[in-house]
């Protein structure tokens, strides 16, 4: 209470300064007058009386100063003084201010933009109620290293109904729709959700109602759908009257019952479903296999649960694990002798694992965590280099201010007070820089988001929220302290006698090799080099990936996917439609080859299928599931994959004819060694008693199938004509010209066959491969950008120090030249110290880079830990830039006119 009163009174004391000062003046002079009069009464002369009064009173100015300090809030007053002084200094040297603010803006901006991404990807929760109670249910497998999250529907039911640790357990599965409305059909991203999905997440409808347990009781009985806000906006123009109306999903009329709120995107940031339908509609939308909802063998759904309030994750995991094993044991019992004892044992080794579900399934996080943290570290180092740079700039400027400092110290300024003032100055600078940095960060994160594939960035807005702005503020303050403290301390050690004696030393005797300024130069070089080398490593890795022998010809191939099954085509019609599409496309001008496949190369999706091989006995845990694709004739011609032996499929390889298969070289070697695989048989039937029934008719060269960096995989191809069930397939068209141009023509042909059949995921093979390298390209770009930025800053710092040293030594250089020194001697004497520092920095930087290189190992493709290209290249680049940076100002030294120089100062 009293503290508040004192504060208020002092706060008031900040105002009406003039009036209060004159009142104080009046009061004090009245006092002295009274003292004087008293003294005169005692018989002193007026002069003596006044003198004596002054003595009795003590220091008049001191008393006033004490009084003023007592009156106001000295902290704020001093701050205001310092700020106005700092502002004046900044305005007076606009060049210095501009360089500093720009450096800080880049440094703080880079850090803040990365932090805004980290904030969104690694720190943000699902936009649902109490996300911290959610857990993702996973299981570990004896075979796989990482926990898996796919479950069968019966397992989900068991977990949902028999657990005692969750208040709710939801399940979901992704699928895509062919959505028709107003005679227009297009592909939409969909999700099958359990009846308790929205209830578990605690989501309220934006409009209408959401799917509830009553919609999820009977298979196929509830043709209802909930739309996402974004989809409703985009497709229905935010028309509220669509709620209650029907639209067409895969040829079925479905009633729109509600809209989800704008910020809700589901259980995974990287997936953005447009349409959600009840899980029980699976029988309608994914009719094959028919026993999907009953089979324990089909794992196709993921499960998220909400813990009961007082149950810990560990306890829930232990409890659920028991239940899980009971269910597993029952399932194995049912399968009986069809599963080997070894497989049963393996299955029972599986364990339940509960992961935090506050971010949902967080696949995006898993993918982006390492690159984001890595780049965050890189920007942190860039900021450190910037700090070192600014500290050096301030040190150089300090040298010019020594005179001012000496005078101020001589007339009694406290050193603490001076340090405080300089820190205020550097903090002001860093705050201005931080403010500019926020603008840079906003721009940079927008650019970064644009760089990411659309499905990543759909929910990734990386808003500049309070946390991000708080980060920018803290980063600015820390930066200001970092670069301001050392120069301020150094400056405060200035000797009072310094200026009073003489202005500046003419001989550079005070320039020691291990001065603070040298240390800063060394630090900048040593920090920049690893960044440059890191960039070099990524660049080299990306170049390796780009140059990888894919095994196919990636140029001039147009890709598009179509799925007539979604439009309710029966199987026979699907087959004939695919045949018609191929026939029509092949007649188009400039088309050299066209084919269909169930899995397009390097598309991010692939299939594997278990096989039995004639004459091959697999070991107990041997992986017998090579990659598999169903293809049309002409596939290998379209991609330019050569045959080692045998023949391609033809139009005659149909359902009634003997079953045929084509395998790749790796598979041929794996199963048949040196023997000729042609004529041998393999089979894919689930029935353990069925003998292999597909005859190998060809062997093709290996290619890259899933990633560019994969090692050779076994792969087999079966004929489209012999496949009983066909769904979506990717059309691939090789053209003699620009593949983009053929797109319109292909679309017209498909439209001609069926106006309601959408063609989606249209792209070119080249683009598809580039997209598969998004992360690598991003890392390469960012690390190059930051590496060059750090190098630029370091060289600017170097330049500044050399220029300053030359300016200081003007007189000395003049004397030496007058005594006959050659320009080259002068140059050497100026630059030699720098070259020692830079070399030292490079040596230490190389050591650090070696560590970094080991750390990056797994992110690099075919790049050795000590990659000569990156290490030598980066060191050379840095050395050359440093040499230019040092030489540029040093040149001035050689042009000094001795006569002018001797008159200098």
């Amino acid at each position: 209470m009293r503290g508040l009163r004192i504060f208020a009174s002092r706060l008031l004391g900040l105002f009406g300064k003039k009036r209060r000062d004159s009142e104080l003046e009046a009061e004090l002079s009245a006092h002295i007058e009274a003292l004087t009069e008293e003294n005169m009464r005692r018989g002193m002369s007026e002069r003596d009386a006044r003198h004596s009064a002054r003595r009795e009173f003590g220091g008049l100015e001191q008393a006033k100063e004490l009084y003023r300090e007592q009156r106001g809030l000295p902290f704020f007053e001093t701050l205001a003084q310092d700020l106005s002084y700092a502002l004046r200094m900044l305005v007076r040297s606009p060049g210095f201010t501009a360089v500093t603010v720009l450096t800080l803006a880049l440094g703080i901006g880079a850090n803040t933009s990365l932090f805004s991404l980290i904030n969104s990807v690694l720190l943000a929760n699902l936009p649902v109620g109490h996300p911290e109670q959610l857990v993702v249910i996973k299981y570990t497998d004896a075979r796989a290293q990482e926990a898996e999250d796919d479950f069968s529907y019966p397992m989900y039911e068991a977990i949902r109904d028999k657990n005692i640790v969750f208040s709710n357990v939801l399940t979901r599965a992704g699928l895509n729709f062919n959505a028709g409305y107003d005679g227009q059909s297009e592909r939409a991203v969909g999700e099958l959700v359990s009846g308790n999905y929205f209830e578990t997440l605690g989501v309220q409808p934006f409009l209408g109602r959401l799917i509830g347990p009553e919609d999820d009781r009977q298979p196929g009985a509830s043709p209802v759908a909930v739309l996402s806000y974004v989809y409703w906006q985009r497709r229905f123009g935010s028309d509220p009257s669509v709620v209650g109306r029907d639209f067409i999903l895969n040829n079925h009329p479905i009633r729109i019952i509600g809209i989800t709120p704008p910020q809700f995107y589901g259980t995974e940031m990287a997936r953005n479903p447009d349409i959600r339908v009840p899980m029980m509609m699976t029988t309608v939308f994914r009719p094959v296999p028919a026993n999907r909802m009953q089979s324990a063998r089909h794992r196709w759904i993921t499960v998220l649960a909400r813990l009961k309030p007082d149950i810990s994750r560990a306890r829930a995991q232990a409890s659920l694990d028991i239940l899980y094993h009971q269910v597993l044991a029952a399932e194995l019992q049912e399968l009986g002798s069809s599963v080997s004892a070894h497989d049963k044992e393996q299955t029972l080794l599986s364990r339940i694992q509960l992961d935090p579900g506050n971010q949902g399934f967080a696949h995006l996080r898993g993918e982006m965590e390492r690159p984001l943290l890595l780049m965050f570290g890189v920007t942190g180092i860039v900021l450190l280099v910037a700090c070192a740079n600014l500290a050096n700039l301030l040190l150089a400027r300090n040298a010019k201010r020594k005179q001012e400092i000496s005078v101020r110290l001589a007339i009694g300024a406290g050193r603490r007070r001076l340090i405080r003032q300089w820190l205020t100055e550097s903090l002001l600078l860093s705050l201005i820089g931080g403010f500019a940095g926020i603008i840079v960060a906003y721009w940079a994160k927008t650019a970064l988001l644009d760089f990411l594939p659309a499905n990543y960035s759909a929910n990734l807005h990386a808003p500049m929220d309070v946390r991000v702005l708080g980060f920018a503020l803290v980063a600015s303050l820390v930066t200001g302290l970092l670069f301001g403290l050392a120069p301020a301390l150094q400056l405060s050690r200035t000797k009072v006698s310094f200026v009073l004696r003489h202005q500046a030393p003419s001989i550079a005797s005070s320039e020691k090799l291990f001065s603070l300024r040298s240390a800063l130069i060394f630090l900048q070089v040593a920090l920049s080099l690893p960044l440059l080398i890191g960039a070099g490593l990524f660049l080299h890795s990306l170049r390796n990936l780009r140059g990888v022998d894919t095994g196919f010809v990636k140029e001039n191939v147009f890709l598009a996917t179509l799925n007539p099954a979604m439009n309710g085509y029966p199987q026979e019609r699907i087959k004939s439609l695919y045949d018609d599409v191929l026939a029509r496309v092949r007649t188009l001008p400039s088309v050299r080859a066209a084919s269909l496949t169930t899995s397009s190369v390097i598309s991010g999706s692939w299939d594997q299928e278990g096989v039995k091989v004639e004459g091959y006995r697999p070991g107990p845990d041997e992986n017998m599931s090579p990659n598999a694709a169903v293809i049309s004739p002409g596939y290998f011609e379209t991609l330019g994959i050569p045959f080692v032996e045998g023949r391609d499929f033809t139009e005659q390889d149909t359902a009634g004819r003997p079953k045929v298969v084509i395998i790749n070289e790796t598979m041929a070697h794996y199963f048949f060694g040196k023997k000729d695989p042609l004529g041998k048989k393999i089979g894919t039937s689930d029935d353990p008693k069925a003998p292999p029934d597909m005859e190998i008719i060809g062997v093709v060269k290996d290619a890259k199938y899933v990633h560019l960096w994969e090692s050779p995989r076994r792969h087999f191809y079966t004929a489209m004509g012999q496949e009983p069930h066909l769904f979506d397939m990717t059309l691939q068209v090789r053209t003699s010209g620009d593949p983009e141009e053929i797109g319109g023509l292909v679309r017209a042909q498909v439209h001609d066959l069926d106006t309601n059949l959408p063609l989606y995921a249209t792209t070119t093979l080249q683009v598809q491969i580039d997209n598969s390298l998004t992360q690598e390209r991003l890392l390469t770009w960012l690390s190059s950008l930051f590496g060059l930025l750090a190098t630029l800053l370091a060289s600017l710092g170097l330049s500044g120090v050399v220029a300053f040293s030359v300016a200081r030594r003007t007189r000395e250089i003049g004397i030496r030249m007058a005594l006959g020194a050659q320009p080259s001697d002068i140059l050497r004497s100026v630059v030699s110290r720098m070259s020692v520092l830079v070399t030292l920095g490079i040596v230490v930087g190389l050591g650090a880079a070696l560590e970094l290189s080991r750390l990056l190992g797994s992110m690099l493709y075919e790049v050795k830990a000590v990659d000569p290209l990156a290490f030598v290249g980066a060191s050379l680049l840095l050395g050359i830039v440093a040499a230019i940076a040092a030489y540029w100002p040093a040149r001035h030294a050689t042009q000094i006119d001795p006569v002018v120089a001797l008159r200098h100062e």
Partner: protein, 114 residues
């Protein structure tokens, strides 16, 4: 703020000022200084200038209030007077001072006796 040696301790000065105002009623700075000098018989070396920050401090705490008026020899002067809370404060401080003084006396007396 460290007080130079030989000067009055801050707390003591506060107490003296409060006591003076209690004894003499409203008084200007000069009057207070003179009174202190008289009472202390020059035992206390008071830099009279330091009186003013102390007065301000007491005023900020609400123990005294000030008013401009006219002094005995017709000069404009600022008169300070004790407030109610100042009176309370004086009582409290007097008590604690006496307790402290008694303690010190006892302590030093015994020490001398050994």
């Amino acid at each position: 703020m460290a007080q130079p040696r030989g000067e009055v301790l801050q707390g003591t000065l506060d107490l003296i000022v409060l006591k003076t105002l209690e004894a003499l009623g409203p008084l200007h700075g000069y009057g207070i200084a003179v009174r202190i000098q008289q009472v202390s018989a020059d035992l206390l070396k008071l830099n009279q200038g330091t009186l003013y920050p102390a007065l301000l401090r007491l005023e900020q705490r609400g123990w005294i209030s000030s008013k401009w008026g006219v002094s005995e020899n017709n000069r404009k002067a600022k008169f300070y007077s004790l407030t109610r809370s100042g009176r309370k404060q004086l009582l409290a401080e007097t008590e604690s001072w006496e307790r402290m003084a008694a303690l010190m006396t006892r302590l030093l007396g015994r020490a001398e006796g050994v």
